[in-house]
């Protein structure tokens, strides 16, 4: 077997595994095991057809398209691993941090909104005692929650977009 064949089969696999949202160890395992399978198929086909190009093409046909395989391999990566990689993986670090800031912003904002809404619902009238809660904390909480939501949505969008590229 020459290097061209090996390189082509490795490239075929890299299309499926290269950008897989999985740990490096998992991708390494998949790469080696699937390459062994591809090389076994290639040997079978070469023995039958005695032509490297035909054997290579038939190997790829038998194994399946890389994009389809990638889609199926994603389902074999545990969700927790995908989530951890999304947060801690390489690249798009700024957007991932913004995502966390957005979620925190929403929680803190809701921490102001909920008590203020409770006061609003239970109070018969706005009195000096609850004026600060309803008049200041409620709008502040709403603005903070909306800002957090916006930052969260935007950073999520950027993270996913970076993941696809």
């Amino acid at each position: 077997m020459n290097n061209v064949v090996l390189n082509e089969l490795t490239a075929h696999l890299a299309e499926a595994i290269g950008s897989l949202p999985a740990s490096a160890a998992r991708r390494q395992t998949m790469q080696e095991e699937l390459l062994a399978h591809l090389l076994d198929i290639y040997d079978e086909e070469l023995e039958q057809f005695k032509d490297e190009r035909t054997a290579l093409d038939r190997t790829k046909q038998r194994f399946g398209r890389p994009d389809e395989l990638r889609g199926e391999l994603v389902t074999a990566v545990p969700s927790v691993e995908r989530l951890i990689l999304l947060i801690c993986g390489k690249g798009s670090i700024m957007w991932r941090w913004l995502w966390i800031v957005g979620v925190l912003g929403m929680f803190v904002g809701m921490g102001f909104v909920m008590p203020a809404v409770h006061q609003l619902r239970s109070a018969d009238a706005i009195t000096p005692g609850n004026r600060f809660g309803i008049g200041v904390l409620l709008p502040f909480g709403v603005v903070l929650t909306l800002l957090g939501l916006g930052v969260f949505g935007y950073s999520l969008h950027r993270v996913f977009r970076a993941g696809r590229c």
């Binding site: 077997m1 090996l6 499926a16 395992t29 998949m30 080696e32 095991e33 699937l34 390459l35 062994a36 399978h37 090389l39 076994d40 198929i41 040997d43 039958q48 057809f49 038939r58 046909q61 038998r62 194994f63 399946g64 398209r65 389809e68 395989l69 199926e72 391999l73 389902t75 074999a76 990566v77 545990p78």
Partner: protein, 135 residues
């Protein structure tokens, strides 16, 4: 044999003449049952991916049309669930150092297979009755 392959370039494993009249079952129909099928194949004994693929092909009389790469996501899911276990083989002769993994059924996998068989019998019984084609 060669002529037959040329007519059917997408066949994963070269179709043997004895199977040529079998109606094919494609990946879409297999998808929901692939994991149970693999468990059943491994119930016959441990094996690596290519061997599982061959056994599936032979057990299905050549009617199963499945891309060989599709086996692995199912194998990995089974491994994640603890239904199968895998170990790297020692020998790598002829594969430029790339090793195969040998899969075997776990006790949990054996139980899952028994359950899968029961569910399949139930499924066939109910649907066969509705379709007017009991098994």
């Amino acid at each position: 044999m060669t002529k037959e392959i040329a007519k059917d370039p997408l066949t994963q494993i070269n179709r043997q003449t004895k199977y040529k009249d079998m109606q094919e079952i494609s990946g879409d129909h297999l998808r929901g049952h692939l994991e149970t099928l693999i468990l059943s194949i491994l119930d016959q004994g441990p094996g690596h991916g290519l061997e599982i693929s061959r056994r599936l092909h032979d057990s299905g009389c050549g009617a199963l049309r499945l891309k060989e790469g599709s086996l692995y996501p199912a194998l990995y899911r089974l491994e994640n669930s603890g239904l199968v276990e895998a170990a790297w083989e020692e020998e790598t002769k002829g594969r430029r150092g790339a090793r195969r993994r040998i899969y075997h059924l776990t006790a949990k996998g054996t139980k899952a297979l028994a359950k899968g068989r029961q569910e399949w019998q139930h499924f066939v019984k109910i649907l066969g009755g509705i379709l007017g084609a009991p098994a």
